[in-house]
């Protein structure tokens, strides 16, 4: 059902109630008012019954049962009212003679159906503890309502001695069933987790209005003051109208009338206690007004107190059990944390050991690599280079002798020269002259080469002593790699190479340029083209040091490396 249609229905119900009230006020006790009142009291419950049964037909499971039972209840009440209307309007009997009679059968039959129907409304997850709590809450509400009702309705009805026993029983049945109904309505409000609040509110409102109508009817009948036309009659008309609207509203979303897993608002879970509080206020007022409480009220109060105590005891026990569970869960958690911490520590140790083994392997690799490079450099120097130089000298002889061969000799000689230059370059790469010149001088040579090709490099040397061969070679290679990268990626930049250390706290070399820089990747990998960065890091780590790169777009690039003064458990490269 669309919201607009629903609003039209609400407006219709309001109009009907307004007309009813207007006629009642304009012509109290007169026939048109009586007829209008009776007919609207027939029409509304029967329409509500139809709406409830339709909703039941569309629903499933507990929703279907609940609305079906509420529908039957409304139908019973409507039929009772039809009987009443027939007697009052057609047979023209006086209301005072109509009590107790057939209509009461309809009215009272409606109560158990509505009661069970409300109970069948789908609720949240019901545990045995929750069911017991619901029962106690119900008893508490009932005790409080009994107290209020005894003060207002039940007491006077019970005390009225003018009627026979049957009339008295039927008269008492109304307020008693009202207590039951209001109890179940309040319980429903405090317990149920209905997805849509509107149907619940409408239903509860309708039931409460009915109860008010019933109770006032019983009271007025008992005190012989009921005359078919009474403003409280509007309670029934409006009550059933609300129930009908609730059914329509619930039907509009029959699928989700069920459970919504939301937390119950606190005011709703405290509802039973509120009722007790109201009863308490009544008790105080009665005490002040009458000077004493009747025995029924005293027992009722004692009963309510007992229920509250039991409820409290249950609550404490549950809290205790829950606390115990939390404590044991905490213990379990603690144990798990301890186990995990232990496992982590072991893993860390393993990791550390693996890291140390890896470092040793890398160191061995670096050492072997340097040895191999040295060996190749020696071969080039002692054998190939000398042969080339000898050949070049012989070419000189050849060119010196014969003019015709001079040109060929010059060509061969320049080819030999190129080979010599390449061999010398290769030797410098393979074997930096750390052993011969020291780190500073070797770097100066390297820097001179870079200066020649256009990279402006300056060296700031703050070394207190020269590093060992392996440390010096590694520093040299990393600095050279960084300079090569600067040459490739920051052409024309100004580069500063700074050397520190040698005082026992290791050696630091920093190469920073004022080039364009780049965004280093989060995984620590080299960006495209900067192939040497991970190699730098591995070389430094092999010696127990570190190397890092710092760069950002427009911020230049800085490579920094630190190596320890002494290489732990290292196979030093033997001097050649």
């Amino acid at each position: 059902m669309r919201k607009r249609t629903f609003m039209w229905l609400v407006a219709g119900v309001m109009t009907l109630a307004a007309i009813n009230l207007a006629v009642m006020v304009a012509a109290p006790g007169q026939r048109p008012a009586v007829v209008l009142d009776d007919f609207s009291e027939c029409l509304t419950p029967l329409a509500a019954a139809a709406a409830c049964l339709l909703t039941a037909a569309r629903g499933r499971g507990r929703t279907r049962q609940a609305w079906g039972l509420i529908g039957i209840s409304a139908a019973c009440w409507g039929l009772g009212q039809v009987a009443w209307t027939y007697q009052e309007v057609v047979l023209n009997l006086h209301p005072a003679d109509l009590f107790p009679s057939y209509p009461d059968l309809g009215y009272l039959t409606a109560v158990p159906f509505a009661f069970v129907g409300l109970l069948r409304l789908p609720g949240g997850t019901i545990t045995s503890g929750a069911r017991l709590r619901s029962l106690l809450d119900g008893l508490l509400i009932a005790a409080a309502l009994l107290f209020i009702s005894w003060d207002l309705v039940l007491g006077p009805v019970y005390g009225a001695s003018s009627t026979d026993l049957f009339s008295k029983a039927v008269g008492l049945a109304y307020p008693m069933s009202d207590i039951a109904m209001v109890t179940i309505v309040l319980l429903t409000i405090s317990r149920l987790r209905i997805g849509q609040r509107l149907p619940l509110a409408l239903l509860a409102g309708g039931m409460l209005l009915n109860a008010v109508g019933d109770s006032s009817f019983a009271y007025l009948t008992t005190v012989q003051n009921y005359g078919s036309i009474n403003p409280t009659d509007l309670g029934w008309t409006l009550g059933y109208a609300l129930i009908g609207l609730a059914a329509i509203r619930a039907s509009a979303s029959a699928a989700d009338t069920g459970v919504a897993a939301q937390r119950l608002p606190r005011w709703r879970s405290l509802l039973p206690y509120w009722t007790v509080a109201v009863a308490g206020i009544f008790a105080v007022m009665t005490e002040i007004e009458m000077g004493s409480l009747s025995r029924v009220l005293v027992w009722d109060l004692l009963f309510a107190i007992t229920v509250v105590l039991i409820r409290q005891f249950l609550f404490l026990r549950e809290t205790h059990v829950l606390n115990g569970q939390i404590a044991s869960k905490n213990d379990e958690l603690d144990q798990k944390v301890r186990e995990r911490t232990h496992a982590l520590t072991e893993s860390l140790e393993e990791l550390h050991q693996t890291g140390e083994e890896r470092r040793q392997l890398l160191l061995r690799l670096v050492t072997l690599q340097e040895e191999e490079r040295r060996r190749i450099a020696h071969i080039i120097h002692d054998d190939m280079l000398q042969s080339m130089i000898g050949a070049k000298m012989r070419m000189f002889l050849l060119a010196d002798g014969n003019g015709a061969n001079a040109e060929t000799a010059a060509t061969i000689e320049s080819a030999i020269d190129r080979a010599i230059v390449r061999m010398r370059g290769l030797m410098t790469d393979l074997r930096p002259q750390i052993l011969d010149l020291g780190l500073k001088a070797t770097l100066e040579q390297s820097i001179a080469e870079f200066n020649e090709v256009g990279l402006v490099v300056t060296l700031e040397n703050h070394l207190k002593s020269d590093p060992s061969v392996i440390v010096g070679t590694t520093l040299y290679r990393i600095v050279r790699e960084a300079l090569t990268n600067a040459y490739k990626h920051a052409p024309g930049a100004t580069v500063t190479v700074t050397l520190h250390g040698g005082g026992g706290d290791g050696f630091t070399a920093r190469v920073s340029d004022d080039g364009p820089g780049f965004t280093p990747q989060a995984n620590g990998r080299s960006p495209q083209g900067h192939v040497g960065l991970s190699a730098m890091r591995e070389r430094a780590e092999a010696l127990g040091g570190w190397a890092r790169l710092d760069s950002a777009m427009g911020q230049g690039t800085t490579v920094e490396v630190w190596l320890p003064h002494q290489v732990a458990a290292a196979a030093e490269v033997p001097a050649a």
């Binding site: 280079l385 000398q386 130089i389 000898g390 070049k392 000189f396 011969d436 001088a441 001097a575």
Partner: protein, 145 residues
């Protein structure tokens, strides 16, 4: 080329056989130079200098048993008049410095043109090729090349 009556006596000290042979041929081909001998090591070379009194020694820098530096020291001690031409595969300012400090008159790179070496051998008669830079007695650690 001017021909002088008395050719300059030259001794070659170089551990590379190929260089000794080729350089020997080049020197022999010069009418104003005379190859007195060629040694492959420092000890042999110093002995040869003591025995033959050459005018000029062409001394390889990179050699075993102490290298050219030691050889230059010993030869200047044994025969102060002998002129030493350091001859190296590397053209490094530092090596140049060390060798001149050890008593070498000139420093010539092996990878340069052979005429540079010949000019250095002829030295005093061909002053344009002389390596005459002042010598600083630096204590730069240096083992071999």
């Amino acid at each position: 080329m001017t021909v002088y009556a008395e050719p300059l006596g030259v001794v070659i000290i170089d551990d590379s056989e190929e260089v000794r042979a080729a350089l020997g041929l080049v020197i022999d081909a010069q009418s104003d130079l005379k190859l007195l001998g060629a040694a492959s090591g420092v000890t042999e070379g110093v002995g040869m200098v003591r025995r033959l009194y050459p005018d000029v020694v062409v001394l390889d820098v990179n050699m075993p048993d102490g290298g050219g530096q030691r050889a230059a020291h010993e030869m200047t001690a044994a025969a102060p008049e002998v002129r030493i031409i350091a001859f190296s595969a590397f053209d490094k300012a530092l090596i140049r410095k060390v060798m001149t400090a050890a008593g070498a008159e000139a420093y010539v790179s092996k990878s340069g043109h052979i005429s540079e070496l010949l000019a250095a051998i002829r030295g005093p008669r061909n002053p344009g090729m002389l390596e005459g830079s002042p010598v600083a007695k630096s204590g730069v650690p240096w083992s071999d090349d």
